[in-house]
Symmetry: D2
Subunit: 499 residues, 4 copies
């Protein structure tokens, strides 16, 4: 069902744009769940706040108390919309799950905000999902043919219907039954009347960690930074293909899938995760510095200074500077007050080279050979402007060094990426790219260098240790829906007028 | 699913109240549908505006254009929320249906706002419903057991699921299949890709009329005033038990139910319908004046003036005054600017007898014997204050005459009524009521008098010509859900925190 | 000063219009003040609510407590914006004044909302004004030349500056000094640290009454209905040219102006005042009925029924019907849910004769000779549509009878009127007007008839008992500003962008 | 005048707080002005956006076009409230001035938002002010005694009234007359019909620079970063005591004050200015790195790593690390999504050490000797938490090094500082402070070291080259108002209820 929501976060006018729009891949979601603690919703708010970088469009929490579930959802940031006592009081109980969401199409409305909830025959059930199902449309069509009515255009709703129509008897079995029918990458946190479930796809593409608060309350979260904020202890990662169920009796773990080699997303190390999180037990900040160090080993240059493209390029730039023995300087200053959109400048103004988000630190750059370090290049739109800005500020040479291999292929696993034909690296050689962005040279870390930075000896070509499809085009799961006809790709016949 | 909607119509603080709260039965909905006209959504906006008295909480429209459905819903009044070009443009196409809604529980949120929509295997389908299903919970439980997931707590959603899971092949048959399984009172307007359907329950409890615009566009509406506003012609009432389907080929009518005597709601004449509407082809204003005339015949009094309780008592008061030959005067003046709620007055202020909505016209009342005419007494809360106000203004005697029989029983057919124990007439004799409200005398029209006013010779006790359950306690359908246990009466385990 | 206010009452889009726009004169303000009562702001809210018909655009209250003044202002209706505990609590103290405002230009913003406040050398001072100064621009220019800085474009601010720069020593004398310099029509309620002042212009054009609550708290209000709502007793009218000062010691009255014959506004009887108010001690409802009776004596007709144009025509129609012995019927039904604006109908829709606000009660009109009774005709825009609607509903003859003389001249005394060239009666003979509005006949009460209805023997041509400039063009004060050049008529060089 | 503004930026509930509240001095304003360019308001929006760090509470712009001034003001950030075409279009013309504002008391409402505007006898006049007048109350009292009426509680309004009542003939002379009567620190940008004025106090405490766009449009701005964003060239600083007037004929400069040694604010270098701005022609980033270097020379330590307290400590930390030869690491990660307030955590939660804004990067800190570098310590509230967080993350030793001398005294020159008794350094020795914040050691740069970092040989005690009153208690101007009685310090008798 696709109703029109009168949201208080008004859509900006179509006249607006962000001339420095964010040329990045974007993780689409973060999830959180907590069981058996008196302030479950407050913990969820804090946890989601620390996962805000994984999804800024909307957030939602469902809690459970005395036989009832309670839901609150809002467009916008957690700190702006879940920061009042009435909101917290509307979410009573000792267990809760939450979700932050990045919208691919920019405003798909409140009906797609998770956690999703359903009154099943076995009781209430809420679920929050990070990832993407690659056979969601195919399953949806089958379910509709049997009379299922969908209320969102979210792929996650398929899971709810698979559970609702499963013929297994108990809820955990219904859930596993549903997980066996879906394909793709997923990390789920789910809440029923008496249990909290955390589950991860067989390849472990999307992350999910297990934490413990005060030795008595288990927590699931996309990243460890959500444990830190509430003072919880990091226990371990939920393993690929593992379904962990928390009840009053404690923790129960099953692995209902055939054994497979894990393929966690390597881009979590490059950009998605917060630098203070641990992924697979390793500090993301350290890995990023390692990438910078590997890059310095692969691409030496007699430069005057190393300048990060703020903020995501900073750790790799520090690593590069330390390895290369070149001074690290903030040659580009970021304006912290940029909104998501701004007036579309008239041609006159645009011509002036509007610098809404960054400004060159002219005093450091003038007359210098500069190594710019960025985490990745997607469409290249920002790189063109950054290189030009640094050059206008007087830099003698501008070299762009990238802390990931060329991103040649889109992601189908819960990451917002442009189509392949919009990816610069899929259309140009590296030399052409250098010319395009105006850099004196352009270097990318090698894929083996990236694997070394994460602690491997190099990429195992026969059986890669990570999902690196965005660099390699090797997708570790079938892409069932992708082969459907364009017509069939329509999720709903109802167009949400404000979407 | 019961998410929390960030609506722009903020809920008033719990500190507020309306000391003159509206002591009336309330019709819960109005419906409208139009087919084959270039400005379908504008016509729907106008039609719903004219039906606003049937539901003030929320409104919604679904239109169809070029293979797609479009939906816009809003809390609040039609004239305040559907009055901009962007809203109209978000609802393109030549066919549309709409709904206005009165919320029984005061703010059940946007998710219950109709029309409901579903992507069925056979295509998109939207439905708007006026009435109430008396076996909705029972059916819902059966559907959930089979895996259906409900998105609202509205009884109307049951119909969508019955259609979705019907094994009949074409849509009209699925619709009829669903109608055969539901009990209660209902008038439906539904829209699919190629047809507009209007249907009325076998007893015809809730009204539905058929209109024609420019000899080419059929219209369904709850009342004829919705035809007047767009200049459409009144064709006829949809008949009890009739399913009328409009396609490009024209009108098709079937009557899929066993023949039964009709039992339209007699209270539509007393209060619900607008005085300028026709019900069953008769002017509501004329019927209300007739009630006043019958009342004057039954209850003569040598009074100085007849004063209506504004605004609903006016036509009956005019009829009474004309029949009795007593002057009709506006002895009570209504403030047109009253909002729905107001500050809760402190005891000091309350003591002063706050008159937010009405004021006595002292100059007319002082020293007079006054007949007050009102349409009905529900809890009696307003009557107490009105009688006191008139007396404080100097009236020598205050007689309260009511243009309906005592309302002793609640309605289960889509009308918002208090429980039986809150109905004054179900707890007191008429003399006790007179004492309670402080009137010198209290008279109700007899039930036969009411039947005479609508053109009958009197009530046919064996087979009453109308549904008059609120006066007689004789319900014309089974009340299946009513016999369920209280626990089973919960529609959803998810509590909407703002509801 | 003309800043742009980010008001929550968003301006409707320029695409909207109200096809049945209100063809009336509009009183521009209502004032209220109370002294020495513990719930001064609650009383003010209630008082202003009952005066809402005198100004719907905005409202404001200033209270005084323990050496401090407190202010709350809002666009929109009192019942919608002053109905919460936090608002009431933000206005503490035992004395308060308030104001409701009708904006002539439709949204002049919060900075013009009264009461105005100033920190004078002698202490804080707040004032609320109903009326219009006809030499405000002239005085403003003189004050600015001496260094005064104006913050609003309101004529009322002139009074504050006159007081601030007066060389008299005590506040009451400064106030009287200021009043002696202004021309026009005015009723002031003002509040200082230790007194409440009510004052009325020497001619008494605008009304102001004195009330008493619980024998201890004096009240000023524009109309008696504001006394009724809080249970206060009507003491007397403030007299023309009287300045009444309330302190803890009681009431003090002075008349600082040369004696003149009073000229209260006669249109208060015709339309502005609420029918339940007393003006000059007489019931407005009775006067309006008298007008109807006089009209019936002057303009007899063998009609079938008398139909009021709702709601303002009702009392005169009742009077007409009673005098003429013709049945009074609600031949036109008003939709109570009309907002202030609505979608601009496309030509197609407009053609259908959109009836957003009224609908003909066809059953009563068909085949009948109808006398329509309205209070006045200004531009005639509504009359054209009403007559056509009644005729379309089948009326055999439609006669329009007006309960005031032709309005040939604009008002400069605090009433929103169109320019003279927009007034139908100033451009056409009555016969031409009848043709223009499509009526079979058009009748206006004579000016002597109107004077008889208010209790005079007729109009005293040498010295009229009322201000009737809108009917006669005889303005009782000089129109100083009106003779200024157009260029000089600009109040401020700052254009409020949303105004 | 102190009316209540219905702002769309709703005040957060009193239940909320920011546990990591920002323990900094805050510059209170930024100003911008542009003359003779077709997109004056767009340039002003961009300029104010780049000055947002100087004031986040509110922003305003006044433009001039064809004899009229236009104003738009809003609470909140520039990028969120001036980013639509309608706002830009509401500010037409070729000249404009703007202002961003930091509110000391947190929400003083729209009436204090600048630019201020007045209709003077000589025409319209708008002014924007950065700084604070130390004799504003004294002047205000004198002006009120003569009949002036103030509309704000802003000290800046005094200037408008001094201009309005000046007996000089032309506007520039009136302006200079006013400047000669005020005391304190100020940078003004003012706009009349035919000129743009930039003026700086005789000591040059607050900054103001002159820029040139396209060789034809002069610009005034608080910092050079506002020139960079629109591609304008930096011409020079407006000199202390200089009044620069731009007309169509070009630039005119006068210095109407007695010659004095300049005393620009040294804290602009430490914290207020953006690192990419030039102050006095020197790069702020370089100065901050110099401070870090001087600090390293003064306070050597054999540490494992240098960690900045983000973001303001970063440049000094880089300088320190480079000088000391110790690795620079991001040991504290900042959450970029922190709103201004958050739920007040219950005791349970607070106990957990909520980290809404920062998180320790445990992997870098564990077992290390850490030098934390911050720009200043005000109350010490944040320092306590930061040190604890770093220690909890496993640091062996935590040393806090501060890039400014101890802040012992409040600022009266347009900077928001706590009272002296709230300043940690005014109540404790440095050793006591170290114990209080829990650091193993605490070091501040010496005041001479700070002067060396800005290029001096040291502080000239006889005649300091900068205003360093916050470190020295030596105020370069009289503090006239400060000596007034507390009672006299009340700016207005009207309390703004929402402030």
């Amino acid at each position: 069902m696709t109703d029109h929501i009168n949201s208080s976060n008004s859509t900006p006018s179509p006249l607006t744009t962000n001339p420095f729009d964010d040329d990045k891949f974007h993780d689409e979601c973060g999830v959180f769940g907590v069981f058996n603690t008196p302030e479950a919703s407050t913990h969820s708010v804090l946890g989601l706040h620390s996962l805000q970088h994984r999804g800024q469009e909307a957030a939602g929490i469902v809690s459970f108390d005395k036989g009832q579930f309670f839901s609150y959802k809002s467009l916008g940031h957690v700190a702006d919309n879940f920061n009042t006592q009435p909101v917290i009081e509307s979410l009573p109980g000792n267990s809760a799950i939450g979700h932050v969401r990045y919208s691919t199409s920019g405003g798909a409305g409140l009906r797609n905000v998770q956690p999703l909830f359903a009154d099943l025959a076995s009781g209430g059930f809420a679920v929050a999902h990070n990832g993407n199902l690659t056979n969601a449309l195919t399953l949806r069509r089958q379910l509709v043919d049997k009379g299922a009515i969908f209320q969102s255009t979210s792929d996650s709703e398929v899971v709810i219907h698979l559970i609702a129509t499963s013929t297994y008897l108990n809820l955990q079995d219904k859930f596993i039954d549903a997980m066996r029918r879906i394909e793709g990458a997923f990390a789920f946190v789910a809440l029923s009347e008496d249990c909290l479930i955390g589950a991860r796809d067989p390849l472990g593409v999307r992350p999910l960690v297990l934490g413990l608060l005060n030795d008595e309350s288990y927590i699931f979260a996309s990243e460890t930074c959500a444990l830190d904020i509430i003072g919880a202890e990091y226990v371990r990662d939920v393993e690929p293909g593992e379904v962990v169920t928390i009840t009053k009796k404690g923790l129960n773990s099953v692995k209902p899938f055939p054994e497979q080699s894990a393929r966690p997303c390597i881009f979590e190390h490059v950009y998605f995760s917060r630098p203070d999180s641990l992924t697979g037990g390793t500090s993301v900040y350290k890995v990023r510095k390692n990438i910078g160090r590997e890059l310095a080993k692969e691409c030496k240059l007699n430069a005057d200074l190393v300048v990060p493209v703020p903020d995501s390029g900073v750790p790799a730039a520090i690593g590069y500077a330390q390895e290369a023995g070149i001074p690290f300087e903030l040659g580009i200053i970021r304006n912290h007050y940029v909104g998501r959109t701004f007036i579309e400048p008239s041609d006159t103004i645009r011509h002036l080279g509007v610098k809404l988000k960054h400004n060159a630190n002219r005093g450091e750059l003038d007359g210098k050979i500069v190594v710019l370090v960025d985490d990745s290049i997607v469409r290249g739109t920002t790189s063109v402007k950054i290189v030009d800005m640094v050059r206008q500020a007087g830099a003698k040479e501008v070299h762009m060094y990238i802390a990931s291999p060329p991103t040649t292929d889109p992601c189908y696993y819960g990451v917002d990426t442009p189509d392949k034909d919009k990816l610069l690296a899929s259309n140009m050689t590296i030399d052409e790219m250098a010319t395009h962005i105006g850099a004196d040279s352009l270097k990318f870390i090698s894929i083996d260098g990236l694997y070394r930075a994460v602690g491997e000896k190099g990429r195992d070509k026969a059986c890669p240790q990570y999902c690196d499809a965005c660099f390699s085009g090797e997708y570790p799961t079938p892409l069932t829906d992708n082969n459907a006809s364009d017509d069939d790709k329509q999720f709903s016949l109802l167009t949400d007028s404000r979407a």
